[in-house]
Symmetry: C2
Subunit: 164 residues, 2 copies
């Protein structure tokens, strides 16, 4: 199944007010996909500051879904980032150590559904930007992203961090 929502996740004229899955705006569709996870959720995001999406990820973690998050070191320290809350909740998070950005914006649900596109998980992006989100379930599409996630996950293993 392919779901291309190239029309942007939130129409600028009518910002999506949804607090959690109700109605059928793009954010609630994204939340429903995420909340369908039963076993695993890999998240690889440059910027993650949306409280709604943060709560959904914490809920999955509490349900016993194996959640792993990779993010960008520069962005994660900014005010409003959800990363500190996720770590506090006991979710595994790793980040880059590079000058460049860890600029991916994708998630993988149960190793079978890829969610990718231009969208960072921020309220500004959801409510006011022009964005696209692709939801793809073909293994041919999912596998290279899974492979990339595992590669990054190892590369960003804290045992490789350099402090000096």
């Amino acid at each position: 199944e392919l779901l291309a929502e190239a029309a942007g996740t939130g129409a600028a004229a009518r910002p999506c007010p949804c607090p959690l899955p109700r109605g059928d705006c793009s954010l609630s569709r994204l939340l429903r996909r995420l909340l369908s996870a039963r076993r695993s959720l890999e998240i690889c995001l440059f910027a993650f500051s949306s409280p709604q999406l943060g709560r959904a990820v914490q809920l999955l973690h509490r349900r016993g879904v194996r959640v792993r998050v990779v993010t960008d070191a520069q962005y994660m320290g900014l005010r409003g980032s959800q990363i500190g809350l996720l770590r506090h909740a006991g979710i595994q998070v790793r980040h880059d150590q590079e000058n460049g950005y860890m600029h991916h914006k994708f998630a993988i649900v149960d190793r079978r559904m890829l969610i990718t596109g231009s969208l960072n998980w921020t309220t500004q992006a959801i409510q006011t930007n022009r964005e696209n989100v692709l939801v793809v379930e073909d293994a041919e599409y999912v596998k290279p992203f899974l492979d990339e996630f595992e590669r990054i996950w190892e590369e960003y293993n804290p045992i490789h961090y350099r402090f000096f």
Copy 2:
């Protein structure tokens, strides 16, 4: 055909030096796809500052390919942006008038090949970021992006610009 290059377009350790298509780095593969255009090229990019990609787009324009560019108003004024050069070359460019970002990063070649992902067309992104680029030729995938392009193209028509 699907080509997922989730491994990032440029390995940070070994920046891609390619001036134009030679060798087989991710930039040269992207250039080859673009330069295959015979009739039309739609570009919808938040940030466009790569000189190599700018030259490729100008070359296509000179060859008679119908090139249309949509971009973000805030970014296009920054130093290093290719947008001024493209306009100077006679290429049609339209931009948003919104507070939010026009954050898409996709291109469509001959209305049949979609190139999309996390990559802005900037030298920093190409050489030092972790990025993904998907190249997809199935109509089912291409169409929603074509539709979005045409929608944005109309919405950003200069006759709708407000100056006061």
